[in-house]
């Protein structure tokens, strides 16, 4: 195996990486450092983020990113190699992408406490929960984010109903796609429906401009639904 012959490609946009010359800013955590490989589009992933766990990548990225489009945040996070095609890590992606977009719009008070609460609750949704419990962790993410930003508890009236309704609608949207499970499609559905819901029910405008179609994750998914999935293809 000759390391020098290897070609590397940008995890954000897929272009071939070039040898770095000078300082670059990490597309995930925002840190500046001397770049070894850099993308022609200026994407760069720092050494710390390349070795980071899924939880660390999601947390540090959402702390620093200024993006207001939750779909764009989710796409960036899911392109990171620490986020597997399938698995409970995707639940946190859905939750933090929504929460970060809400924070960045400036219309909702979102701080460390909100992030911690969401992580703690969503973390209880294990991998494979969709098939075994009949509840996808992404729907739990949508319900949790709504609950946290509205301050809902089991004693609440309207706030509790809102959390239940967003979770229910999201679940219905995920179920409509069919199986086997695709955690990426579940994240896309969740973010789209949650953004619409938050705008309509709480008057918090969450704009989505990034289009997850065609799905860039399809080639990594052995069980891709292909034409049965609304995000597949051109």
């Amino acid at each position: 195996m000759e390391e020098s012959e290897e070609k590397y490609f940008c995890i954000v946009c897929g272009q071939q990486l070039l040898a770095g010359t000078g300082e670059a800013t990490c597309s995930y955590c925002g840190k500046k450092e001397e770049a070894d490989y850099i993308c022609p589009e200026d994407h760069y992933v720092c050494e710390t983020c390349r070795l980071a766990s899924a939880e660390d990548v999601i947390t540090t990225t959402c702390e620093t990113i200024k993006q207001i489009d939750p779909m764009a945040i989710a796409l960036l996070l899911m392109k990171h190699p620490a986020i597997p095609i399938h698995g409970s890590e995707n639940h946190l992606v859905a939750a933090y992408s929504l929460l970060t977009a809400l924070k960045n719009t400036g219309k909702t008070a979102v701080g460390t406490r909100e992030y911690e609460r969401v992580a703690q609750r969503v973390g209880k949704a294990s991998g494979g929960i969709c098939g075994s419990w009949g509840v996808c962790g992404c729907a739990i993410a949508a319900g949790t984010v709504t609950s946290v930003v509205t301050g809902a508890t089991y004693l609440s009236d309207k706030e509790r109903s809102l959390a239940l309704r967003i979770a229910s609608r999201t679940l219905d949207g995920i179920a409509a796609i069919g199986g086997p499970r695709c955690c990426k499609a579940s994240v896309f559905v969740t973010i789209r429906l949650a953004a619409e819901f938050l705008d309509r029910e709480l008057a918090i405008p969450v704009h989505i401009s990034a289009d997850p179609k065609p799905c860039v994750f399809s080639k990594w998914n052995d069980e891709c639904l292909a034409r049965r999935c609304p995000y597949y293809g051109s």
Binding site: Y8, I11, E47, L51, A52, P81
Partner: protein, 363 residues
Amino acid sequence: MGLEGNWRLLDFETEDPRMSLAVGESVFRNKKAGLSPDTLYLWRTVKPVILFPPGSRRELPESAKKGGVESLRTLAVAGHASFCDSGNINFSIALDSRTLNPLIEGEYQPLRSEYRFLMDAFTEGLRGLGMEIKAKPDGIYTEVGNEIATSQPAWLSDILLFQGTVYVSTELKNIRFPPGRAVTSLTAELGRSLLPEEIIGILIQGFERKLNVTLEKSRLTGTERKLAEKLYDCKYSTDKWHFEGKAPFLSLTGETLVALYVANPPTSKCRQLIDRVNKAASSLMDEVKVVAWRRGLGTEQNPAELTPPVLVALAKANILPAVIINGEVKFALEVPSENILRAAIHNPDRFPDLSKSLHGLRR
């Protein structure tokens, strides 16, 4: 090789069933590496044995175990345990399963269609004996559901290893299978004495007819023989494999496999590790294969090599960089010196396997 499209009837005889299993796996691996033709290998054992796929231990015929019959673990992902003596014809088919696609008729069921088709290839010949039998994915059955052949499949992406046995004149009267499983023999069903030698030709003819191929008899290639001997030494002759299911995770063609789990693109630490491992292995290049697995790129990044199963655990535990030698994690989150790496590659057993303590490594 010029072997594409040809089918080989393997000409190899041994009295040791462990060697027959090693030969089957060697051909399978070489087929995956593009070094072997599609192959049918028919073999027999003088000594009675139980051949069991992983997960079927509880099915092992108790009576046979008590009688001191050896239990040998096969390379398989499914199937039932089988009892084999000199009255059996055992088979080991290694083929590119894609070649079966145009031949499979009716509704296609992934895996099951391939298994049933191959069982049907043997059924085709056996029906000529005047028997009413039916091919199923896991064996061949008589009209009343008695099992007359058993299959045990294994896969390396599209390459299928389909092993099993046909009960010709097997001494089954003292063998009690678990409830619900009735095994019979051709001799018992037909009520006349049959010799395996008579049946071999019938199986071959049925196979050729069903697959529309001509089997050409030939021996193992040099690489197949070398790998079979290595698999025999480090796997099929060991109790560790047959009792615990453990064997060195060698490269596809049998070299010591040094797999590196690194970032994508590699960090400076990862590059340093790759460089040191390459230097440490440089004096052993014919016996060692170094393969880098970059996180997040899936199995397709090294299609010509086997993926160590422990990579999944490393990814989940976020342990990188790591050095995996013959399937065991030897170094994690560190860059050992070239000398230490060389020692580990020479003598992997002297270094502990960290696989069981991955989550503790991050603390």
